[in-house]
Symmetry: C2
């Protein structure tokens, strides 16, 4: 993770409010100065209440973000949004800001209403604790089945020195299409929305949209970048984009490495497709294959399952042209097995990082994605999540 | 399973040829009289050699079917088909039939060539054993990770009494779109292809295409119906169709019940979609959800995962209209949770058959599918399949 940079104007805090049985479950970010934000949300048609709520405020500047774990506040209907309205009013007053200055985000079990009273009761303590060194506690408060908290920060130079802080969570229901479970990015780099929107989307596409744990797109996926509105510091723009890309990429890899039950991260690179879109379809199909994921858990170079997944899409592929390279070793050429030392390769699969390259030899389209293996622990976590 | 009917003119046998480390792995069906056949194959673009081979002979009558387990003969290129040509010549001679009278089917590990020599060495014994009571051994010889063999038979009346025998295998890589791993149907009911093709396709669509174990469409899926060519016995036609439907349905349910590692069969019924196609898309999405499948393994009525899966398709759904009924109990109405006794429902989920009904309340389209839970045993089987 390296050095953790701070932002003087952004205060973090966390408390245990009792939404979860134990541990931190409520986090606050308080902005000394109003900030603008850019957000991307899940493509799932069932969206969490906080997403409906946040969408209303997209053209506004805000002063606070309240995040809870333990309850997704999704599939809670109009009542779920009303709960947020009620909260905004009460906690806004305590911070001496308008209700419209407060954003929310939730993660946890779908279908349960937010325990509003618990949150209200805990808020004074939460506000009292807020300080510019509290990011670690905040990152812990938004965890669900995560086994570690996820922070990535970076700094870059323009007319002055700037900082970007990223916090994320997510270990299951990870198949982000627009955003991941939750990721918050904070910077003091001044910008205008229309000047950085493209860089923001690109960063997300190259990071969170290239990981999957279980091919399940969440109802709550949200990525938000908070920044002070102002003329873009042109001298710092390149550094901003570079830091945005590296922070989001690091957070995405932290999420997939912490995938529920995962012991391995599998980097799947599809090359030689007719188009990038076709490469993506093939890569995503392989990345969600339970048979491929269990084979890698067992360190089994079972390429037959990979080629079967390649064939099981709408992409026209010529089986006799397919090449497969695992851990740098070409084991399939012209769609057929090349003689290789299976015992040695099996040994080389007993490691945390697996590289798989599939060349369709049809064109120049390519796409890569990171996925996890599928393990006993995944079953354990998900067969007993709520109990 | 009930009574097992026999066909005097169809002889079955099986041997252990050494393709698998142990157990029966080679089965033969010998037809006293030439029979016609109708077949459906996998939609996977990577197809097993036997499918390429069988397609050439579709307009012919045949006399024998040789099936092996332990080796899928898929992703073996032109050599894989040449192996079958070689085999057809040699075993055809021993049966005094033309090479073109012999069909093949394979199931097992993808990417390995058939051990032709072992098959040739075992063939004389296989031929010697063939008899009209051998269907059980034959059914055992085509098993891979199956935990029991699968036979369903029925009889029906026309101008005379007819019999239909069905044999199937398949426990993993089950997501049949056209056909399942392997299913062979034999009857003495005389027919013409063009008169029964529609009934055949309908039976498959309503049986094998409505089950999934792991959402992995195999390279080898094949369903074949063998029948004597002749004028259709009109008096028996209705009974034929009814028996065809019941035999294929029973085999499909036997396959899903034997799904790799499965402890439960989950029947997912989607109603109220705009169209049948939309209902199917939603039903298949739920049926492949690892989170839904692990929840049912844990007897957890975690409907949030179901509604998240419903939202994660291209079907426009209105979350606030969704109803969910589990084991007959309505737990979601208007997209929100209804008060129900969770402990009681959890208890009622501790059983082998789970019923889930999702009403989208948008129209009249409906579709149902059977899937399995996802368990530790699935991981165990697939992390160590080849070793």
């Amino acid at each position: 993770m390296g050095r953790v940079f701070k932002l003087r104007n952004v205060k973090f805090s966390a408390v245990s409010s009792g939404i979860k049985k134990e541990g931190l479950d409520l986090g606050l970010v308080y902005f000394q100065e109003p900030v603008s934000f850019l957000a991307l949300y899940t493509t799932n048609r069932v969206k969490a209440a906080h997403i409906h709520y946040m969408k209303r405020l997209e053209e506004k500047k805000v002063r606070a973000l309240l995040v809870n774990s333990g309850c997704a506040n999704a599939a809670t209907g109009k009542e779920g949004v009303k709960d947020l309205e009620k909260l905004a009013k009460i906690i806004g007053e305590q911070m001496s800001v308008s209700p419209d200055d407060v954003l929310f985000a939730s993660t946890g079990v779908i279908g349960k209403r937010l325990p509003v009273d618990k949150i209200i009761r805990s808020f004074p303590e939460l506000l009292k604790r807020s300080n510019s060194s509290g990011v670690e506690d905040f990152a812990k408060a938004i965890m669900t089945t995560d086994s570690y908290h996820k922070i990535s920060t970076g700094s870059f130079k323009g007319e002055k020195n700037y900082v970007l802080i990223g916090v994320a969570k997510g270990a299951g229901m990870i198949n982000p299409k627009f955003g991941t479970m939750l990721c918050f990015l904070f910077t003091d780099f001044p910008a205008r929305k229309d000047k950085i929107r493209k860089a923001f989307k690109t960063a997300i596409r190259e990071s969170f949209e290239k990981i999957t744990v279980d091919a399940e797109t969440s109802t709550n996926d949200t990525v938000v970048l908070f920044f002070p509105e102002g003329d873009v510091d042109q001298k710092g723009y390149e550094g901003f984009v570079r830091t945005l890309n590296s922070v989001t990429k690091e957070l995405a890899l932290l999420i997939v490495r912490d995938g529920e039950g995962a012991t391995k991260v599998i980097h799947i690179k599809v090359k030689g497709a007719r188009t990038k879109k076709e490469a993506e379809e093939v890569a995503r199909r392989i990345a969600r294959s339970n048979l491929v994921k269990t084979a890698f858990f067992g360190s089994d170079p079972n390429w037959g399952r990979i080629i079967a997944a390649v064939g099981d899409t709408n992409v026209r592929v010529a089986p006799h042209k397919i090449e497969i390279i695992i851990q740098g070793e070409r084991i399939v050429s012209g769609g057929e097995e090349v003689i290789f030392d299976e015992a040695t390769l099996k040994k080389r699969l007993e490691t945390r990082n697996i590289d798989v390259e599939i060349n369709l030899n049809e064109g120049k389209g390519c796409f890569d994605i990171y996925t996890t293996d599928l393990t006993y622990e995944y079953i354990k976590i998900n067969a007993s999540y709520r109990t």
